[in-house]
Amino acid sequence: MKIAKSVEHPNYIQVFATFAKNSLIRNMMFRTNFVLESISSASWALMNVGFYLIVFEHTNSIGRDTGWEKYEFFVFLGTTWLINAIVQAFFMPNAEEFSELIRTGGLDFALLKPIDTQFLVSFRKVEWSSLANVLFGLVLLAYGVSHLVGRSTHPWQIEPITWLLYPVFVFCGVTILYSLMTCLAATSIWLGRNQTLYDFWFYITNFSRYPSEIYETGWGLPLWGIFTFAIPVLVVVNVPARLLAQPLTPRSPSEWALAAYTLLATVASLLASRWVFQRALRSYRSASS
């Protein structure tokens, strides 16, 4: 799409702030609902932790020599919740709404606005109640990390660079999931209905919630390959979590390669989502009521 230089673009940050503000006003209007949703998503998280507490009653680590012992794994879980909660807060309501906009023809209005359409549909709503889970993820992270730093047998220090890299890779993870979700939502332009798509989303992202080491054996290898390279959901949590849960050095070269690959995959999937989105818009037929 050609855009002349002289044209003023909207201030995207400011627009996003207004979206966030409007969503907050809306959330606050249905306060009981908001509280209930916060509680319910937090209790899912608690249950998940409960399950792993039970698992760690019976074992020291997940997989042999993988480095995923109890507190390292809490870092992993914390990262999982953090990333998923961010996705749920910012993108999930919009992806759902996007399918709805296509079904009702409400997408018309988004197409009329002098602003990037993908931006407009992706950021319109913020589900503030999911931020409870962001908080939960952070608490879990802090708990895990503080134990790792404070333990008596080889405690380790976190290099400042780790604190810099971790958010970068969390951002990468969020972006990859966002791209995947956008692609799935955009396909509802062609398919019309999307129930199975959301199941698909759930099942795919389910793979990202476990350490990738568990797949790196026997007939798990094809899965590992598919979900690392074809649909890169495995790097979403694994790369940032491993970065924070293990000392920065020594690291095998393959880990650095995977980290570099993650950056690449982020850019690639974002571009892919843009491409799919633009293609989908061309097929948009604008349901008339």
């Binding site: 409960g50 019976h58 997940i62 042999r64 199975t196 389910n206 476990y210 080491e213 568990i214």
Partner: protein, 262 residues
């Protein structure tokens, strides 16, 4: 007649059904990988389960869940109460509890006519995990009985929650709590044997375990044969209790409802 209509309606969506059933097994795959990794690090059994047992457990509890889960039942009942649709059961000589039960039976039959194929396929592929082979006939009998009862128990528990809608218009929060507890404490997420005391005994006293854990435990021989009859008798007691509760709630609810003048 009621049965047939519901059956026909269900069979229309058979394509979705078969696909949906296969998809249901996908999360199990990741679970299995997780357990595989865990068993790698402990080398041996965990609370009496070998890795193979664990896989077999998940498959069996999945089967039990297919019997006992009642998607949308409580919310449907609650909605009917809210919208006043429930009135037709007051006017017509049809019993809501029996009517809905038949509907669910039809639903499950229709489900299994389609779901048997994917289920059989998965169980056949995974037959290697059932290291003990088929259990003795008496255990199989108890297993089937527990499956049937898990269906009934699941139905009546869900129904009771729906009927609470007579008193509270919005049951979704309650339903969510139930779903959460059910997921965690029925054995759907992990074999209940993994729990430490005193949680283990506590969960044993709850009826939720019959919805997923119990049938699987019977099949895997986790419950000694001489205790089978006793355990099944307790399940029957729970079932009778919930039938009674549902009847009572329904009768009280209707009276309260007509008290309002509809």
């Amino acid at each position: 007649m009621i049965l047939r209509i519901a059956l026909e309606e269900r069979l229309v969506y058979r394509g979705d059904f078969a696909l949906g059933t296969l998809m249901r097994f996908l999360p199990i795959i990741t679970q299995i990988f997780l357990w595989w990794a865990v068993f790698q690090s402990i080398e041996g059994r965990m609370a009496g389960y070998s890795f193979e047992d664990m896989v077999a457990y998940y498959l069996l509890s999945m089967l039990a869940r297919a019997f006992s889960s009642m998607p949308g039942l409580a919310s449907t009942v609650a909605r009917q109460i809210r919208d006043g649709e429930i009135k037709k059961f007051i006017i017509q000589p049809v019993d809501l509890i029996g009517f809905m039960l038949l509907g669910r039976v039809a639903h499950k039959i229709a489900y299994y006519t389609v779901a048997t194929v994917p289920f059989a396929l998965v169980f056949f592929l995974c037959r290697g995990y059932f290291t003990e082979g088929w259990p003795p006939a008496i255990v199989v009998g108890a297993f089937i009985a527990s499956l049937v009862m898990s269906f009934l128990l699941g139905y009546f528990i869900d129904l009771c929650i729906g009927l609470i809608g007579f008193w509270f218009l919005e049951v979704s929060a309650l339903l969510f709590v139930y779903m959460l507890l059910n997921f965690f404490l029925s054995g759907h997420m992990f074999p209940l044997d993994l729990l430490e005391q005193p949680w283990r005994s506590l969960v044993d006293f709850l009826p939720l375990k019959y919805l997923a854990y119990f049938p699987a435990a019977i099949f895997l021989g986790k419950i000694p044969q001489d205790r089978l009859a006793f355990e099944l008798a307790i399940e029957v007691a729970w079932l009778v209790a919930f039938i009674g509760l549902a009847r009572w709630l329904y009768a009280r609810g209707l009276r309260r409802y007509s008290g309002y003048g509809g």
